[in-house]
Symmetry: C2
Subunit: 188 residues, 2 copies
């Protein structure tokens, strides 16, 4: 049910503002964290921006490996997202402890999270000064995938799938909002 997304459409996976999971690996060290502060930065080649606090183990792995992945979680994973956002990889290997499953995608160069509805594999665009000053990391998307049940032909279509597959948008303190229904603005 997973398909590759054309790179020139990859920005659409983040365009509506979902909370994401940020993962990275360096050798046999790996970690994943939750981040509400992520957005597209460019269309083609696609780039993304994400805020990674200095205290996070994921950031250390991004700096060491030069890569990260964004996985877009869904309603069925809300408790997992909150758990990932409130536990540090400094203390426990979140993958090994069984809380989160890695997705077997041979073409991915960073770990992807199973059960999500979209994934963006990214190469860090190193900007040491702005990373240090603002915790702001940029990446160029090298590959992207989506769950065909909710994203195909370059478009999200949540209304045709179970509500458990809708993306989640963090408000605060473990409270999320699911993405809702279509609204037409007079487009093509």
């Amino acid at each position: 049910m997973r398909h590759a997304v054309d790179l020139n459409k990859a920005y659409r996976l983040l365009n509506h503002g979902p909370t994401v999971l940020v993962s990275a690996a360096d050798g046999n060290r790996r970690n994943v964290m939750a981040a509400a502060w992520a957005m597209p930065l460019d269309f083609d080649p696609p780039k993304v921006a994400v805020v990674l606090d200095k205290s996070t183990w994921t950031r250390t792995l991004v700096e060491a490996s030069g890569r990260f992945a964004l996985s877009v979680p869904c309603v069925a994973q809300a408790r997992l997202v909150h758990w990932l956002g409130t536990h540090s990889g400094h203390e426990t290997d979140k993958f090994a402890s069984g809380g989160v499953q890695a997705l077997a995608e041979p073409a991915a160069r960073s770990p992807l999270v199973a059960g999500c509805v979209a994934w963006l594999d990214c190469e860090r665009v190193a900007q040491p000064e702005q990373e240090g000053r603002f915790d702001l990391f940029l990446g160029q998307v090298s590959a992207a995938w989506a769950d065909t049940r909710v994203f195909s032909a370059g478009r999200w279509h949540f209304d045709e799938a179970p509500d458990s597959l809708r993306t989640v948008h963090h408000v605060a303190g473990g409270h999320f909002l699911a993405i809702g229904d279509a609204v037409e603005g007079g487009g093509d």
Copy 2:
């Protein structure tokens, strides 16, 4: 129905990833554009990041004035958001042409858009190199407001108001998704 939002809660106005309207004024020149690529960057003092293409008149005004505002539009404004996102201020004064109404908020230093559900008045944090290379602009929030019908005590509560007040999240080409229902991740 509009109230000031504590600055340390201002990030919550953008945390769930809504599409925003970016406005700026310099002297008697003013403009407003739509932007799906905006996010919080820091908690306190609150900062935001937004992508402003080199072709936009709004960017010229941000660079000239050192300020901008983000207004968070709602379902009732979906056609307006699409119109603002597809018409350039180089061609027409979008405020004067009657398509969009400015909000009378004496404390705001950039124009705010009436009918929206939240507003963040920002001072540009100038980063000429990254602005030039990535079209990425940063701002520090100097004041924020929200519509009490959908945001109060530091929280969104869309379920207690008409659906026309839900935020909109751009997918592509004038197609939006409204924010949906609450999902608990096990928070406080």
